[in-house]
């Protein structure tokens, strides 16, 4: 397959691993921020190919996993309204809320529809004019431009019955909070390739300037990841801390300006609530005034008080403080058939990845 097979060639992988081994002289911990990286690292057995002194830890980069319980509960409360069709991405279905999940609600007959593209919600709203269609919109900067476009089109087309439950998150402020907490030693960051396709390099400058940590914007194929790790090891060994781009075939220094403009047109920065981490300044979005009539948070519904399983370690796992194997629920009570926390639900959740590949 073009643009894929070239980045999975064993001989080149061997060469990169040799270079990493040669360059690496001391133990380091590298965090892969993005869940897609975690999956790729496990799927290709990359951990086992690296020298022992290079330890990879997983970060908070799974949008399903960081969605707080209170937002899931709100979505559940909304779908229980008789005149509401709730639409969302497939992974959200199984995420447990405080006492229910969208999957359970669907089984009980609530109208919940899985969509693959943000623009599908416009069609659903037009086909069901007598219903209020709510899109439970989650995602990082990769997804936000498409959600912004869906909102702009809704306004242009004058669709009166489409609303957005916005639970999107911004990655750079979360990284800032994580580094500031200093709960876990991080010698280098493998930065998300697709979030950076939108953002470019600039929003990450604080990583090198304030924290003196090297970072490399990295692609998702195994050779991308190996090259990204090699670039990080070189920076560490040469005492440099820069933001470098490995994923040059996609990521431009300035990012995608059109996409950034769409986000800015619709949203402004606001505090975001992250599961297990809590409120992080400017890590979310709220609607600009012109679009506030589409905000599903304005619906008058009763939401149950939010509670999480006391033993679930998703919060610590998302910050790289704990690994799933340290959780008492992992594999015993919590597994993909019966997920207790969201990290076991999402195919990019760290717990799910450990379960599947470890």
């Amino acid at each position: 397959m073009k643009f894929v097979d070239e980045f999975r060639i064993q001989e080149i992988a061997k060469g990169l691993i040799e270079r990493i081994k040669k360059a690496s002289t001391k133990p380091v911990q590298l965090m892969e921020v993005c869940g897609t990286h975690t999956v790729s690292i496990f799927r290709y057995g990359i951990r086992g190919l690296l020298p022992e002194q290079i330890r990879l830890i997983s970060g908070p980069g799974c949008p399903v996993c960081v969605t707080p319980n209170s937002d899931i509960d709100l979505a559940i409360a909304l779908c229980r309204q008789k005149d509401v069709i709730l639409t969302t991405f497939g992974d959200m279905m199984k995420v447990p809320g405080s006492t229910s999940s969208l999957q359970k609600e669907k089984a009980e007959g609530k109208d919940i529809r899985i969509i693959y593209s943000s623009l599908e919600v416009l069609r659903i709203a037009k086909e069901n004019p007598e219903k209020k269609v709510v899109f439970f919109a989650i995602g990082f900067e990769t997804t936000s431009p498409t959600i912004a476009v869906a909102i702009l089109r809704t306004k242009e087309m004058g669709i009166p019955n489409l609303f957005f439950l916005n639970s999107q998150k911004r990655i750079p402020p979360a990284l800032y909070a994580l580094l500031q907490l200093r709960q876990v030693k991080i010698n280098g960051l493998i930065l998300p390739g697709h979030v950076s396709t939108i953002l470019g390099k600039a929003p990450y400058q604080f990583i090198s300037k304030e924290f003196s940590i090297p970072a490399v914007i990295t692609g998702f194929e195994p050779l991308d990841i190996l090259q990204g790790i090699w670039m990080l090891v070189r920076q560490i060994e040469e005492n440099r801390s820069e933001i470098e781009i490995q994923y040059k075939r996609i990521v431009k220094e300035e990012g995608n300006l059109v996409a950034q403009a769409k986000i800015d047109e619709v949203f402004e920065k606001a505090d975001g609530h992250w599961r297990g981490i809590g409120r992080i300044p400017e890590s979310g979005y709220r609607f600009k005034e012109a679009f506030q009539t589409m905000d599903a948070r304005a619906f008058d519904v009763e939401v149950e008080p939010s509670k999480e399983h006391p033993e679930c370690l998703c919060g610590e796992v998302l910050q790289g403080i704990k690994i799933p194997l340290e959780c008492r629920l992992f594999k015993k009570v919590c597994h993909p058939e019966n997920p207790i926390g969201p990290c076991m639900v999402s195919i990019e959740g760290t717990c799910h990845t450990f379960f599947k590949y470890q």
Binding site: V4, G45, Y116, P222, L226, P336, E337, Q358
Partner: protein, 336 residues
């Protein structure tokens, strides 16, 4: 038959039932000396080892690229018998039909069953039709049971794999589940994606002819290649190592799997087989497989090992290793 839809009365056992059987089923499934209207079919004693299996088919949609529920109902049961090394001979055929189902579609399904049974060389010797109220079943479900005869000297079982054995796969994986999924979700491909639904009995017998010592054959249906290999590793108490680069997967299946985050190793197949044979037999077997229309893309994909007992290890494209577990979590419902 003037009615265009199936009515409850078609399943009542009365005149309409009789008409349905006489006009729709019997012309296609009359196999003298069997008397299909008797309460059961009499199978003459062949004094051989008998294999017996049953399966129900609930696939949604009923018609999909490369097949339909009728073809699937014959192939699935024929393949289950074949995986025991049996020569499939007789099938039963039972329908549960939702009231209001178009008779025209039923005709199409029945003629597909007839055509597939002919290709597979099996006879449908007994059957049943029930009609349920609207809403009590989704359109139409089929159950088939099958009987086959196992030749002297053939002994296939998931318990038989031994360290050193070779593992062969008969062709591209994932086609069936991906075809159903794309039909349901409306995905479009440059290269038309078709279910691999096919009866494997002819291929199996040709393989057993050149190597009666084959240890085990399995068709990787629900749960896919990874799940079936796990079953074999566990039942034989052996380890299994397969190489990712040797596993044939179509571009379209790989592409959509990448997009949706699916792993083709867990996708269902309906016309593929995994064969475990003693080391040294793989050359002759691959020759036979590749000269058969259903085994053109056959590959040696791995081997059975002493170490890593009850585990399946995948050697990844870049030379790493990972454990392949059984299917967990979601899989698309009603794919067969």
């Amino acid at each position: 038959m003037s009615e265009e839809k199936i009515l409850l009365a078609h399943g009542s056992g009365g005149k309409l039932s009789h008409d349905l059987i006489q006009k729709l089923f019997l012309p296609l499934f009359l196999n003298p000396p069997f008397e299909p209207l008797d309460d059961s079919a009499e199978i003459p004693d062949q004094k051989k080892r008998l294999a017996f299996t049953t399966d129900s088919y609930v696939v949604n949609p009923l018609f999909f690229p490369g097949g339909d529920i009728g073809k699937l109902a014959v192939c699935g049961t024929v393949n289950d018998l074949s995986m025991k090394g049996a020569i499939p001979s007789y099938l039963s055929l039972s329908f549960i039909i939702e009231e209001g189902f178009p008779i025209e579609l039923l005709k199409k399904i029945i003629s597909s069953i007839h055509a597939t049974a002919k290709v597979a060389g099996v006879k449908i010797v007994t059957g049943d039709t029930k009609v349920v109220e609207h809403g009590a079943a989704d359109q139409l479900f089929i159950n088939t049971a099958g009987i086959g005869w196992i030749k002297e000297g053939v002994s296939l079982s998931s318990k038989n794999a031994r360290p050193g054995d070779a593992i062969l796969l008969s062709g591209y994986i994932g086609d069936h589940e991906m075809a159903i999924l794309s039909q349901r979700e409306g995905f479009q491909f440059q290269e038309a994606l078709k279910s691999d639904c096919a009866p494997l009995n002819d291929l199996v017998q040709k393989m057993l002819d050149v190597c009666p010592a084959i240890r085990c054959m399995r068709d990787p249906t629900r749960g896919g290649l990874a799940t079936i290999l796990n079953e074999i590793a566990s039942m034989s108490n052996v380890g299994i190592v397969i190489e990712e680069e040797k596993i044939p997967i179509r571009e379209s299946v790989r592409g959509i799997s990448e997009l949706l985050g699916l792993d083709p190793l867990y996708l269902a197949n309906e016309g593929k087989l995994i064969c475990i044979c003693p080391s040294g037999a793989e050359g002759d077997l691959l020759k036979v497989m590749r000269s058969h229309p259903l085994g053109k893309e056959a590959h040696l994909i791995g081997k059975v090992t002493e170490e890593n007992r009850k585990k399946v290890v995948l050697k990844t494209l870049i030379g790493g290793h990972r454990i392949l577990d059984m299917l967990t979590g979601s899989q698309y419902p009603r794919i067969c």
